[in-house]
């Protein structure tokens, strides 16, 4: 190997570090299937995706699986992104899609495999700090399991992720009136189930909440 090449002076780099990239630049990187864009997309959006998924699904492990699927799909289908500035909405649309699919799968599984343990009962997955809270969360998760995937998603996005009705409608590709109906339906059913579950009401009471 000629030595002259190995002693060539280095050129200065032009361009900023990937972390400075705008969403549009990031989208362009994803479309070009550049590795840095994958890493940066993950760094930028994974905390949000994981948080939403865990709030919807109820277990950390399954939320991690959902996040993997979301980013895998985002990377594979980046070319379908029409407006590079709307990368966040693009990612969120996959979150909703994957979560909906996962909730449907879980519902089917419960129907097909009666008695099979739900993910919330997974002994390898502990989320809550104390036993009482854990018990409350398990019971609340069981109630959420009784909602339709659409109603459950609307309820969680609105009440736990604090999204507006308009944002939910845009993300889930629903009309505003449909979102409002789903929200009202989910709230009334959950309220009824919580109030008619004496064990749950007592637990809530002991934790400081007051049943109506």
């Amino acid at each position: 190997m000629p030595n002259r090449l190995s002693r060539a002076p280095l050129a200065l780099i032009v361009g900023g570090a990937p972390r400075d990239a705008s969403d549009a630049e990031l989208a362009a990187g994803l479309i070009a299937r550049q590795d840095w864009a994958l890493g940066e997309t993950w760094r930028r959006f994974a905390p949000m995706v994981l948080r939403t998924a865990e709030r919807v699904i109820g277990t950390r492990t399954e939320a991690e699986d959902v996040a993997q699927e979301v980013f895998y799909q985002v990377f594979r289908r980046a070319r379908t992104l029409r407006d590079p500035d709307s990368l966040r909405s693009f990612v969120y649309s996959f979150v909703v899609r994957v979560l909906k699919s996962e909730l449907r799968r879980r519902k089917r599984r419960r129907l097909l495999f009666l008695g099979a343990p739900s993910a919330a009962d997974d002994p390898l997955d502990a989320t809550a700090a104390d036993v009482e809270s854990r018990e409350l969360l398990l019971r609340f998760n069981a109630l959420l399991d009784r909602l339709s995937p659409r109603d459950r998603l609307v309820f969680v996005l609105r009440r736990m992720d604090a999204m507006t009705i308009q944002e939910i409608a845009a993300t889930m590709d629903l009309s505003i009136s449909t979102v409002k109906r789903a929200m009202a339906h989910a709230s009334s059913r959950l309220t009824h189930w919580v109030d008619t579950d004496p064990g749950l009401a007592a637990f809530v009471e002991s934790k400081g909440g007051r049943s109506a």
């Binding site: 190997m1 780099i13 570090a17 994974a46 948080r51 749950l200 400081g208």
Partner: protein
């Protein structure tokens, strides 16, 4: 309980009990730690690298067609099966733990050894994990598609039944091994921070620190990683006849590893058996090469004459398949000077990696410098600065030159993918040069910026100091 804060007048009424439950659930979701996020990213990269090993579109199309045919035939068979035996249950059973010998599953999924003979874990579809005596292991997860075993300390032999639809994973310390159907031995020594994997059959993808992303391994390769030295070593070992036979069966499921002439690239014997090779930290076989190999070629980049026709697979794909000897042979066939002047950016990077793995550091250096000279604006150009530092260390222990490269990288990419490694190497070089004041200064900065990265233990030891 936290009072509700963000209910709007438009929201339907709900009882305080429901509000309390909502708040409890919201509060129960804790953010993921940086290490968890890093592991998630490594898993994602590993999946993309392993599933995208540049299977040509035609083959993919043919496979899709074949899959459709199989589904149709399967559906027909299913219908006839149900007619004959309606309750026989034709669905493939989910993965389930069958039995554990030599120990028991205890709280948290830990495998508690009953005696001193190790533990054997059997699954219903034939997969077997054998944990060596005194190995601390944990079954983190069992799903319908597979399981995740975590080895916190010790060694294990794993025989994973081949099924491309299953998902098996082994965590060994900070490393993640993604497997399909394979037989391999893996160990993790947390004291020396040493990871070893000997692959006897099939293929795996390893991801974690130092490797920078993921390393696809093929049968007969031994991967050893020493975190304190940030050293990745891949050696070829002789395959046993039985393993070869098994690999032949595996190969039927990896059409993507054949070139257009039908030559099986994975099984083609190397022209010369490569010696033990040492890869620089951070980029043993970076996943971006595998990813990039699926990208359409940049028409603005010059192609390397008829090199493409001679080697049907792009060099990044050859590198991802561990065939760096083929890359070097191809470069020499075309002429090294011509290659350096004409090869596209991805090929130059693959050449640099292949040269580093084969200890041809002059060639690696030349390829990296050519990368910077010809493609100064490409992301690879910045990566090349860090790798030139590694090459300077490998070539003749030119620590001053290596330091200069690491400084340059950190100056241009303070949050770049190799920032932690560059700073870690600077710290080690200063320590080895007995410039302890400088080493400690870097160590303290390292701990602030990268408290959980690969050199954190060494930095803590230095920062404590005498």
């Amino acid at each position: 309980m936290t009072p509700p804060t963000d209910r709007l007048p438009d929201d339907p009424p709900e009882t305080p009990a429901l509000t309390a439950l909502v708040e409890l659930r919201r509060a129960a979701v804790k953010p993921h730690a940086p290490a968890e996020l890093q592991r998630g990213l490594a898993t994602l990269r590993s999946r993309i690298a392993s599933e995208g090993s540049s299977r040509p579109a035609l083959i993919r199309g043919a496979l899709f067609g074949a899959a459709v045919l199989v589904v149709v035939l399967g559906a027909v068979q299913l219908v006839s099966h149900f007619r004959a035996a309606p309750r026989a249950g034709s669905e493939r059973p989910p993965v389930a733990l069958q039995r554990i010998e030599g120990g028991a599953l205890v709280e948290g999924g830990y495998l508690a050894e009953a005696g001193r003979a190790g533990i054997q874990v059997y699954f219903n579809e034939g997969t077997r994990f054998v944990l060596q005596p005194r190995t601390r292991g944990r079954l983190r997860e069992i799903t319908r598609e597979g399981a995740t075993l975590s080895i916190e300390e010790g060694a294990a032999s794993l025989n994973v039944t081949q099924d491309p639809t299953r998902r098996w994973a082994i965590e060994a310390g900070p490393f993640l091994v993604t497997v399909k159907g394979t037989v391999f031995d893996v160990s993790w020594d947390p004291t020396d921070e040493r990871f070893d994997l000997k692959l006897r059959r099939g293929r795996v993808v390893v991801s974690g620190p130092v490797v920078g992303g993921s390393i696809p391994l093929r049968a007969g390769q031994h991967l050893a990683i020493r975190l304190p030295l940030a050293e990745t070593v891949i050696t070829e070992t002789a395959l046993e006849e039985s393993a070869r036979d098994d690999s032949a069966r595996d190969d039927q499921n990896h059409e993507g590893d054949r070139d257009d002439s039908g030559t099986d690239l994975r099984r083609a014997p190397p022209r010369t058996m490569p010696p033990p090779v040492s890869a620089a930290p951070g980029r043993a076989v970076p996943p971006r090469r595998a990813v990039a190999s699926r990208s359409p070629p940049d028409s603005s980049e010059p192609m390397l004459g008829d090199a493409r026709s001679a080697s049907a697979r792009p060099w990044p794909a050859l590198l991802a398949a561990g065939q760096w000897d083929r890359i070097l042979a191809e470069a020499e066939r075309r002429g090294v000077e011509a290659t350096l002047e004409q090869a596209p950016t991805e090929d130059l990077f693959a050449l640099a990696d292949a040269a580093r793995y084969s200890h041809r550091v002059d060639l690696a250096s030349a390829a990296l410098l050519a990368q910077r000279r010809r493609f100064p604006d490409s992301p690879r150009s910045l990566d090349a600065v860090f790798l030139l530092g590694r090459v300077a260390e490998l070539r003749d222990g030119d620590t001053a030159r290596a330091m200069a490269f690491y400084d340059q990288y950190l100056g241009q990419a303070p949050d770049g993918p190799y920032a932690a490694l560059a700073m870690g190497r600077k710290m080690i070089l200063a320590r080895d040069a007995r410039d302890l004041a400088k080493a400690r200064r870097i160590a303290r900065e390292y701990l602030v910026r990268f408290p959980t990265a690969s050199y954190a233990a060494a930095a803590r030891a230095l920062a404590r100091g005498p």
